[in-house]
């Protein structure tokens, strides 16, 4: 579609606005993490760093278990994403394709779970995990993360499956594929972008989760990035340089993950999520 010149100006202005809204905070944080302390707290802030130092990173890595937090977060988030897919793919497929009694009712109930104030289950869940000896384990976090990602994952996958023409599955039935084979050989390859999107959703949900991680995890060695980082914030209230370095390191892994598969997330989200 062609646009008039004035519309181009509006478009450019809008783009700049959103680029600044999203990009500037990150730019300030990342560039700030390399500035010397005096420049960070200068009365007139600098858009481009005038100084360069790695002292904040050195201090961060030597005075905290940041590496451990990072590994914990990666382990918890990856496993959460994996288990979410394991549960959500068959369920999403069944809710979309297979006919069984009470299908719509179960589906609605799952959607209602999405409407849950997560804080509500914090108290009872803590009690349950205490009984099962799961408090202060990463498994507890994985269970919680999967629980919160699962309803949305099923909902998304169901609409991805719905976007596959019915005839393709019928052809597979005529070809004699048992349902599990049809799912594995036909449906999963065809919904790959959607599945990637769901995996990223679950990964990010776990990566950013704070409340449960702060309550369930007691020992420093099992902390995830959000909790570990909030500990550092509490400990070094005004050492902005250190905090900026921590923030930069917490951003880095998701940015790397996203640089490789982010495109899938966006196509997945825009091609099937909302019916």
């Amino acid at each position: 579609m062609s646009r008039g010149r004035s519309w181009n100006l509006v478009l450019i202005a809008g783009l700049l606005f959103f680029a600044a809204l999203v990009g500037l905070p990150f730019w300030w944080v990342i560039s700030g993490s390399f500035k010397i302390p005096q420049e960070i707290i200068a009365r007139i802030p600098t858009l481009f760093p005038q100084s360069f130092t790695l002292e904040h990173y050195q201090k961060l890595l030597s005075s905290s278990d940041y590496g451990t937090y990072l590994v914990n977060s990666l382990v918890v988030s990856s496993l959460s994403a994996f288990i979410t897919l394991l549960l959500a793919i068959p369920a999403g497929y069944a809710f979309f394709r297979l006919e069984f009694k009470g299908r719509e009712t179960y589906y609605r109930i799952i959607l209602l779970a999405y409407a849950f104030p997560s804080i509500v289950v914090l108290i009872p869940l803590f009690g349950m995990f205490a009984k099962a000896g799961l408090v202060d384990t990463r498994l507890a976090l994985i269970i919680v993360n999967v629980a919160f990602a699962l309803p949305f994952a099923i909902w998304m996958l169901r609409s991805f499956f719905a976007s596959i023409p019915k005839e393709i599955e019928e052809a597979a039935r005529l070809d004699g594929g048992p349902p599990l084979t049809v799912l594995w050989r036909i449906m999963i390859p065809l919904t790959a972008p959607g599945i990637a999107a769901v995996a990223i959703f679950a990964f990010v949900t776990s990566w950013t989760e704070y409340v449960f991680a702060s309550v369930m995890i007691l020992s420093d060695a099992r902390r995830t990035i959000p909790v570990g980082f909030s500990g550092i914030i509490g400990q070094y209230q005004v050492d902005w340089g250190l905090l900026l370095a921590g923030a930069s390191l917490a951003i880095l892994p998701v940015v790397i993950v996203f640089a490789f598969i982010g495109r899938w997330f966006v196509t997945g989200l825009t091609e099937g999520a909302v019916k």
């Binding site: 005839e167 393709i168 019928e170 052809a171 070809d175």
Partner: protein
């Protein structure tokens, strides 16, 4: 090769009955075309044979074995879908061999079967391509190839040509006909296009509102329709159906009728079952191609005032009214060009007119 038998088969979706209980037998090696307007239930019928829809009542047997409750893959059928339904992530080879793999046929044997089918369909050069990289006609061939390799008892086609352009449609029609001849297989083919039905079928089933209107060879349906629906559906342009008044009968088994619209009286129409017991009003049917232009008004049965002429090159059609519902259509020899307002005399070719009861039944 097998007889396909439907006994008392019906289908309801909720309270809506889309297929009335019907019986149908498709003989071994036959090319049966199910034809009807959209929404007549023809696809549902095919899908019930395929096992993609359950039957509400009745039984389906293929090759003597009752398959009513069986999975599609256990019925010995293969199907070509309207949208082809090729697996987009698989190569042509994988598309064709998927069913064989599911049936547990070893890889080497699959390759042989796929090659053979590809040779039949001139697809050898495309075996490693993905469906996306193929033209419409090639995709169609792959869809057919996928059915051939499995050597099914019955081939099912669900409007397979409706997504192709006109030229390709004719070409694929010929290829399917050739395939049927070469394989000698039983084929059941659904279409809304009566030309496909006439050209491909050994027998045609005309379906309307979930009921069978008539079953017969293409020629039977064309020359001896059971009712006004079949008479109107088969043939293009469709048969002229004109209100008439029955005056009586003659001793040769003809009905004598007046057709006020044509200003005709005492015209003799052959009856299928000669009887004196005729309704007072009836419908007179005559095909455009059976109206013959006369040189002299004296030899004619009636005169049509030309309103519109459609020149198709190979033949010319005259309409006596601008709207198709009211118009009487007559075929003129090639190169004839009457002007609007011209009075053109016609006679009805011998033995090619029909009489129907007001409810549509043939008299």
């Amino acid at each position: 090769m097998a007889i396909t038998e439907l006994k008392g088969v019906s289908k309801s979706f909720g309270t809506v009955r889309v297929i009335e209980p019907l019986d149908l037998t498709v003989e071994s090696g036959e090319f049966m075309v199910i034809v009807g307007p959209s929404g007549c239930g023809k696809s549902t019928l095919l899908r019930m044979i395929a096992g993609l829809e359950t039957v509400s009542c009745g039984t389906i047997a293929i090759g003597g074995a009752d398959v009513t409750g069986k999975e599609p893959s256990e019925r010995g059928v293969a199907m070509v879908f309207q949208t082809y339904a090729l697996y987009p992530h698989m190569s042509v080879r994988e598309n064709m061999s998927f069913g064989l793999e599911m049936a547990g046929i070893p890889k080497a044997e699959r390759e042989v079967l796929v090659r053979k089918a590809a040779a039949t369909l001139q697809l050898e050069d495309y075996l490693d391509r993905k469906p996306k990289q193929l033209s419409g006609g090639q995709r169609q061939r792959v869809a057919i190839g996928r059915t051939i390799v499995r050597d099914p008892k019955v081939f099912l086609f669900d409007e397979p040509l409706s997504n192709l352009d006109a030229e390709l449609r004719v070409q694929m029609r010929l290829e399917i006909a050739k395939l049927h001849r070469e394989l000698g297989a039983t084929m059941i083919y659904v279409t809304h296009d009566q030309v496909e039905a006439m050209t491909l079928a050994t027998r045609i089933v005309v379906l309307r509102d979930g009921r069978i209107e008539q079953v017969g060879t293409p020629n039977e349906l064309y020359t001896d329709p059971d009712n006004t629906f079949v008479a109107g559906f088969i043939g293009s342009p469709q048969m002229n159906l004109i209100p008439a008044i029955v005056k009586g009968t003659d001793d040769k088994g003809h009905a004598l009728i007046d057709v006020p619209v044509l200003d005709v009286s005492g015209f003799a129409v052959p009856l299928r079952n000669p009887t004196k017991n005729l309704p007072a009003e009836a419908v007179f049917g005559v095909r455009p191609e059976d109206l013959i232009q006369c040189d002299k008004a004296a030899a004619s049965d009636f005169t049509l005032i030309c309103e519109l002429v459609e020149d198709l090159g190979s033949n010319v059609f005259l309409y006596n009214a601008a709207s198709r519902e009211d118009a009487i259509v007559a075929e003129l020899p090639r190169g004839t060009h009457p002007a609007p307002g011209d009075r053109v005399p016609f006679r009805v070719s011998d033995g090619t007119s029909y009489l129907f009861a007001p409810d549509g039944k043939r008299l």
